[in-house]
Amino acid sequence: MPGEVTSLKTPAEQFNEGALIRRVRDGERELFYELIRPYERRVYAAALAIVRNQADAEDVAQEAVLKALKHIGQFRGEAKFSTWLIQITVNEAHMRRRREHVGVMQPMLDHQDEEGNYTPRDFADWREVPSETLERKEVREKLAEALASLGEKYREVFVLRDMEHLSIEDTAKTLGISTASVKTRLLRARLMLRDLLAPGLGGSWSTKLSFAKGTKPW
């Protein structure tokens, strides 16, 4: 599917990964960290999308990785290893959320009607924002804040699809929802983020100049 990053690995890397998985399964457990290292940041991001608190996300990431180590013998290669790992992480994060009953603190955006049409609020013309903008910590922080303000069901779909680069089908499978729901939630998440970020990204953010002292980037 164009526009979708199906794999971030070259065929040689995939081959090496397959060999590494076999060796770990055959008992060379000390190679396991090497196997998951390329995905550790994605594991953390998936956990954070659901639990939202950094300390909890790290706990969940660690538990998920240990669970993957424990059950590596069950990985049969039907899915990509990275997807399998992310699925374990999402399950672990959901379990943590249920245990802690954090649902009562859901932000208002979570209760928006999923079926209704979403009308964009901001129609400012954006220029293409250069990727170098992400070198600036305050920009990354603003993006992270905007993402954290979304309701969980939008945030998790967006993170899996647009940050973890899972396919629509894998996102649906991982979250246990239909592909139609993935598409609907993804549309809303993207448009909501656009509205939240448009004042900054549509304006001064896209320049390389620093913001004037004391002014907000928004």
Partner: protein
């Protein structure tokens, strides 16, 4: 096919994922060419996808990798210790079972000796009558000068003496002791 702004917004995500049919795609593109607002929404959404999809957005707390690696290594070491512990426990169980078996076989042969220092005899004629004292540990040939506690002597077959755990006297029955 002609589409309005609301239809464009509804399909904008699918459009960017190339999940719309060719005729709808063409209609959206035609609409956007003449609609600044929808063009702004499209560009903005494309920016959102591109920026969040960047590897730099996958930030982890300081020391995260190190802590995760340590956790994994500890877990592996723990499993090894657990496995070793299991092996030791298994070996101990085997040893205990073997000991019990040996002692049971000793009991079955009635070879539990009265003295831990004594050596059992070999080839003592089972029917040979020997003398034992109730509180002693050895059996003797009649008349042996090394019989203790002469007040409580019994004369029994060597077979019986051995069953009761007596061992041959190292003086009078020396020839029956193992080297």
């Amino acid at each position: 096919m002609v589409v309005n702004c609301e239809e464009v917004w509804r399909e904008i995500s699918n459009y960017l994922d190339e999940e719309v049919a060719p005729d709808l795609r063409a209609a959206i593109e035609q609409h956007i060419q003449g609609c600044q607002r929808c063009a702004a929404v499209l560009d903005g959404t494309r920016n959102v996808i591109r920026l969040y999809g960047d590897e730099r957005m996958l930030e982890v707390p300081l020391g995260f990798s190190h802590r995760l690696q340590r956790k994994v290594e500890e877990n592996i070491a723990g499993r090894r210790r657990g496995f070793l512990g299991w092996m030791v426990a298994a070996a101990a169980a085997v040893l205990i079972a073997a000991t019990v078996e040996v002692s049971r076989s000793s009991v079955s042969n009635h070879r539990a000796l009265r003295s831990e220092h004594a050596r059992p005899g070999t080839g003592v004629p089972p029917d040979m009558m020997v003398v034992v004292s109730t509180n002693g540990k050895t059996f003797h040939a009649a008349g042996c000068p090394f019989i203790h506690d002469k007040a409580h002597l019994r004369t029994i077959a060597a077979r019986e003496a051995e069953k009761e755990g007596y061992t041959p006297c190292i003086r009078c029955l020396k020839k029956y002791l193992t080297a």
